[in-house]
Amino acid sequence: MTANAWIQLGLFLAVLLAAVKPLGWYMARVYRRQPCGLDRVLGWLERGIYRLGGFDPQREMTWKVYAIAVLLFNGIGLLALYALLRLQGILPLNPQGFPGASSELSFNTAASFVTNTNWQSYGGETTLGYLVQMLGLCVQNFLSAATGMAVLVALIRGLARRSTETIGNFWVDLTRSTLYILLPLSLLLAWVLVSQGIVQNFSPYQPVALLQPATDADGKPVTGQLLPMGPAAAQIAIKHLGTNGGGFFNVNGAHPYENPMPLSNFLEMLAILLIPAALCYTFGVMVGDRRQGWAILVAMLVIFVPLAASAITAEQMGVPAFTALGADQDAGDGQAGGNMEGKEVRFGITNSGLFATVTTAASCGAVNSMHDSFTPLGGLVPMWLMQLGEVIFGGVGSGLYGMLMFVIVAVFVAGLMVGRTPEYLGKKVEAFEMKMASLVILVPPIIILVGTAVAVAGPGLRYNAADTGEIKDNLNNPGAHGFSEVLYAFSSAAANNGSAFAGLTANEPFYNTALGLAMLMARFWLIIPVLAVAGALARKSCTPASAGTLPTHTPLFVVLLVGTVLLVGALTFVPALALGPVVEHLQMMVR
């Protein structure tokens, strides 16, 4: 890594950590229903929603009712988005006249946005009109994020309360997350992003002349470009803040209209980790011991920083074959150097590697460079971060509730070692909690490994092109890298991440269906056990700490937690990673 790379990484972390306390404190006020300032301005909206919804915001729910509310709400979202995509052809605000999406693509995209995955099987500027972008995708960007935050807050209440049946009211948590946290932050960010050059309009695509006419693949002359337009900035703001990551345009944050400047890039990366990091502090406040939140945040950083440095280093070292063929990949005054295939000059190596780590540590999935063209080890970092279960910051809400499941396992392992009943925050961790935590930790790896195995056994290798009926390859790369493309796709779906080794042709029936199902299972099969843990913990009384209690805010516990996360991730995925990126790395070095 160059000196400037360390400075950019350090600056990023410093700004992120400076925002943790104020935002975390503010969010704790929002969820404890204390005055937070914005309720004075928007309180009438909040009360209006409760009144029209016909429910009493003071009435709390048991975990089962809470889970039913989550599923019902997301089911409605899924149907609404599916309908919008199918009916696009007859809906207004579609200046390019795009037709309705196919049933598999609509299912995949609806599942993808409702689960906060935002996997892009669609092509942005070539598939979707403005109404579907706004009323479909933008809405789910907000609501899937708010759902994750609500579930987390329910789990925190389970830990903080004692001897009660209820864990909060989903409608209240959902509404307050959207109104007081996501909307104001998005408005602010969208405004700054427009100033950097992200488009925000309702105009049709704009034709401009080319300075030097070109010829296309068939030898026909081309004299102009068609610049894509649309209400992009609004959606891109929440795309990052809600760790969603679905692009307004096909190439996502590599597109100059989606991420035009180094400053927009910095803010987009910051927005991805902002809420997940601050929620650790919120957690500390709500359980009445801030050190607990800091300990978890430190554990996340301990894994994040070395992986970010690894990705940047691997990309900076570049591709030996490029040098052999006569390219200059050295970093110097005049150029960033390194492996620039699939990267933009304005971001260079540092910001491409850092963005890739940020977006896969969080379950965002936005990209500002093409991960498929990364060096094998540079591509291994984002893939493994997803396979760790998206708990290193993770998605808004979902990252921390996933991490708290790892905490339960870590506490349990520690309890076994010293032969005492494990406790966390005064709550005894018993068989039921362990079963649920194990489910949360085991479901995604099963989906990833079984899905990849099925796909590479045959169904995911070739497909019939919809227009010509021709049989085509799904994989864009041969050998080990082709396997990595499939492994990455299922990792991304089962981590609700959404980034891709995008050479894989996934907009065809097998992948649209398989990945759509993987995303839904990975989201809701985890949310239900998490809420069950919340209910079980809330019911328990508090055991006073004694000399035998393992403190969970110490460096020792941080090490234990990091060890648990890494061990589970390594034991599960090293064989699969060895077949993909590791083999490819050896091939690249020997060639």
């Binding site: 609404a80 500027e125 010829t215 068609l226 890039n265 063929l325 492996n339 699939g342």
Partner: protein, 191 residues
Amino acid sequence: MKEQLRPAITVFVLLMLLTGVAYPVVVTLIAQGVFPHRANGSIIKAEGKPVGSELIGQPFTDARYFWGRPSATKPFPYNSASSSGSNLGPTNPALLDAVRGRVAAIRKAHPDQTGSVPVELITASGSGLDPHISPAAAEYQVMRVAKARGMDVDAVRQFVAAHTEGRTFGLLGEPRVNVLRLNLALDKRSE
């Protein structure tokens, strides 16, 4: 379950209107009011006609122009209506063949350059629309452009320097040259 149905539908519809209609409309109003140039695509106009966007690259092959990055968009390079990277991995023979061909083409067009070719000139950008090259990649082409335009080499260098942006606040991103703006400026000078 039935009890939750009404809140589910009402809350969904209301939040949908708020986040899917009110929010983007408010952002558009602010954007169009405060940053109309940016919000509408940063389009460059010459004599009232749109000649490109300062953020979207264009394809150049003429010896009189500075060339940008290779582009993987289809069916022609820098097709802004369909952004795309190559998505070729570093061990893919197709990528290595492409790089070999690009190195040969660049070397042929720059007989006076003997060193290695700056890596951005032989690798496709992620978007296929990258508007920039590095200062090193621009310097590599200076002699060729000067010769083709019959200009003094140092005069061309001055144009490059005037169109080079450093890191934001001296820290963020990478130094870069905007190819379209540089070429427009060169054309304007020769008129």
